[in-house]
Amino acid sequence: MLYGVLVDLVPHSKESRELEHRWANNESSFWASGGEWRFVTRAQIEARYARRAEERERGRLGVGFEIRTKAGKPIGSIGINWLQPVHRLAMLGAKIGEPDYWGGGYGTDALLLIVEYAFDWLDVRKVWLMTSSMNARVMRQMEKVGFTLEGRQRQATLAEGVWHDWLAYGLLREEWPGRETLVERLGLRERAQVLYADAESGR
């Protein structure tokens, strides 16, 4: 549905539930939640889907995609968790569920796709997200893509007995240079060539 350089964003599939179960119980969940280890059963995943469907019924708008590599492997999910109409705001959420795909640019490619989608298709004026101050990888990504650190909620999350902050990042439409500019600037095409060449030659 949305085609990138390293990944595509596609609708969630039947297989998504099984993947979501795996990802809810692995380390990716610890990072996405700001420090929470979870024990999530399949029934709880089902219940989550039911809750989301009910929220959509009640008008809480959101859009979710599965992230797939160009080779077709699902590696995570990204979307707009909270689309606020009157304020024309999109709050983003993302998780790369497969640790092998952390770093490498997959997450960044997905982020650029969703931001472009939010501005060009949903006509929002601002995208924003929150992440924990432990998540150095996301913090670097935010800077590279051009988000501004707008706020720091001190000691808002607990990880392994240590308090960390929740950081709020925002990007206004007028600051968005367009996806193509950033793909260039961040060298995503070169990266794709390297990654997919590696894959082909079986390295």
Partner: protein, 201 residues
């Protein structure tokens, strides 16, 4: 909640639900407000409609509605956005003045200016639309004075008193809207209010 010169737009009250709806749905105003509906309706049916609307709101119905109350406290009708398409930032307006004594006189216009201002200012919509029947000359004059433009005519859409009548669609884009204050001046609403309620209204 929104305060005008001749009317205030406020939340619906008990009196609205228990009395006014039943009266208005059974008097001539319904014909004009609904583009041609004209049949008796029972209190039980009204109660069912109220219930369905409440459920609709639970399920994310996007409209916003206000009760129209004249400055002297009389409930006279309702106005609002029947639905809002947030994706394209368009709103569809509807208005219903149930009390015949308040047709003409500027009440509808005052209410319309308040709602248009609200839609552009608070909801950041780009475009407003509304529909009316070709017979409703008063409504057409009103909306045209407020800057709406005739955009479409659906021929012979509704049957009124044995005759097929066209349905008209009017639209207003945000960039065409001069602001409520400019129109209040142009349409002399302050003078109308002074006439109706005396100086210092």
């Amino acid at each position: 909640m929104l305060s005008g010169l001749l009317v205030d737009l406020v939340p619906f009250t008990r009196e609205w639900y228990q009395e006014k709806m039943y009266t208005y749905w059974n008097n001539e105003s319904r014909l004009w407000a609904t583009m041609g509906e004209c049949m008796p309706i029972s209190r039980a049916s009204i109660a069912r409609i109220i219930e369905e609307r409440a459920q609709g709101r639970e399920r994310g119905y996007s409209g916003v509605h206000f009760m129209m109350r004249a400055k002297d406290g009389t409930i006279i009708g309702s106005i609002g956005l029947n639905w809002i398409d947030y994706h394209s930032r368009c709103g569809f307006l509807g208005a219903w003045i149930g009390e015949e004594a308040y047709w003409g006189g500027g009440y509808g216009t005052d209410a319309l200016l308040l709602v248009v201002d609200y839609a552009f200012r608070w909801l950041d919509l780009r475009r407003l639309a509304l529909g009316t029947m070709a017979l409703n000359v008063r409504a057409q004059r009103n909306v045209e004075k407020c800057g709406f433009r005739l955009e479409g005519r659906e021929r012979q859409t509704t049957l009124v008193n044995g005759e097929w009548v066209d349905a008209l669609t009017y639209g207003l884009l945000r960039e065409e809207w001069p602001g409520r204050e400019a129109l209040v001046e142009e349409l002399g609403l302050r003078e109308k209010a002074a006439q109706r309620y005396g100086e210092g209204a």
